[in-house]
């Protein structure tokens, strides 16, 4: 059987969704027989490859670099899955959207107010977007796995269905938070 090219991407999230992915435990061995991991924060690959079959994306789109990466991911991926509430709704990452100048306020809070030494606004980190947004506000998303984080069981269910060529049925399963 041909293995599918599989990627995982980490945008503005806490990595909890990747942890939950790893929580599939021994089921990862079955998964490894079906997939060929081509890009992930778990491995050392710099550029997102072409011809990826399935990509799971954790985190909201928070800055310009992530926006660029997500667009590349979409162009190079057949099936794109948003994993976790941040990718699905914006969630905690997007709480700053409720502030009038959220992107500026959190930079000031993090780099000026909460620093003990050298309070300084950085100019070499990617520029924050005015609003953090869920993936589907920027690109087409094929499947969604909500949860903060989604349970390993739910991740496993969705991936198993998709790798078997079926569409997952989320009724009674998809829980936010």
């Amino acid at each position: 059987m041909n293995k599918v090219n599989f990627a995982t991407v980490w945008l503005s999230g806490c990595s909890g969704c990747h942890m939950s992915f790893l929580d599939q435990d021994e089921r990862l061995i079955d998964l490894a027989e079906k997939i060929n991991l081509v890009y992930s924060p778990l491995m050392d690959v710099k550029d997102f490859p072409e011809n990826v079959d399935v990509t799971i994306v954790e985190g909201a789109v928070g800055n310009e670099e992530q926006l660029h990466l997500l667009k590349t991911v979409r162009e190079h991926t057949k099936i794109l899955i948003a994993i976790g509430d941040c990718a699905v709704t914006g969630n905690v990452t997007a709480l700053r959207n409720t502030l009038d100048n959220g992107s500026e306020e959190i930079i000031r809070r993090a780099y000026i107010e909460l620093t003990d030494v050298n309070p300084l606004t950085p100019n070499d980190v990617p520029k924050l977007l005015k609003r953090a947004c869920p993936l589907n506000e920027v690109v087409k998303v094929d499947y969604f796995i909500p949860g903060c984080p989604p349970s390993a069981d739910l991740i496993n269910y969705v991936l198993t269905e998709i790798l078997a060529g079926r569409a997952p049925n989320m009724e009674g399963k998809a829980k936010y938070g």
Partner: protein, 235 residues
């Protein structure tokens, strides 16, 4: 049950006898048929704001809220269909999009009727762009909090305060998406002289909008409180 003051109708093909003037929801409940609800609460007046309880009635292209539509003789009601599920799902998505619901950091996470309905209808994402509104959070009361950012305007709190506690502290101001729950004449809860601090509003709030500070939400919610008090009064 039969005779004067009763009507016969069909719900999902099953013949049901109901009292005249009763709502479709009440008749269905007695017949053991569940219709999803959100603003409805047993023991309070019916308000009809959430539209989760919609049903189809044969002969009409419209959908009807079963909690405010009275039964009539010969009526044929459908409570579950692909069309109804489609609109119920969309309604939940709209409610979630309208306010910055972030379940992961909400006091009601795991004890929220809106969250439960989202799960039931398979709401796995929101098809509508979210309104990242910011509304008033009143932290002035000794132990009660209202966070309008999570309020779905079901008015359960308004009704329980008015109809069961009998003081009508709470109400709604403004219209549309600017609507908010207010205390007295839009004053701070902490300085309210009409609130008896009975906590009934926190007990019936289906989401995390009104809650008791520093108390696990599972211990402070009680959906049966209104019906319980009414039944005691009758004895």
């Amino acid at each position: 049950m039969s005779g004067a003051g009763t009507v016969k109708l069909k719900i999902n093909g099953v013949e049901v006898t109901a009292y005249e003037g009763e709502t479709i929801l009440e008749a269905a409940k007695r017949a053991g048929i569940r219709i999803p609800t959100l603003c409805y609460l047993d023991g309070l007046s019916n308000y009809g704001s959430c539209r989760l309880c919609i049903v189809e009635i044969k002969g009409s292209p419209k959908l009807f809220p079963s909690c405010t539509t009275p039964v009539s003789n010969g009526m044929e009601v459908i409570t579950d269909s692909e069309r109804l599920r489609k609109y119920r799902k969309m309604t939940v998505e709209l409610l979630l999009s309208e306010k910055p619901h972030v379940c992961a950091v909400c006091v009601a996470n795991g004890n929220c009727e809106l969250q439960d309905l989202a799960k039931e209808f398979g709401v796995d994402h929101l098809r509508f762009d979210r309104e990242w509104t910011r509304q008033k959070i009143d932290l002035t009361h000794d132990f009660l909090v209202i966070d309008n950012n999570r309020c779905i305007l079901c008015t359960r709190c308004v009704r329980v305060c008015d109809e069961i506690e009998g003081v009508h502290v709470l109400d709604i101001k403004a219209r549309g998406k600017d609507s908010q729950i207010i205390v007295d004449m839009d004053e701070d809860w902490g300085s309210s002289r009409s609130c008896t601090s009975c906590r009934k509003c926190a007990r019936v709030c289906p989401v995390g909008a009104i809650y008791v500070r520093d108390k696990p939400i599972s211990e402070t919610k009680d959906k049966d409180i209104a019906q319980f008090i009414i039944s005691r009064r009758r004895r």
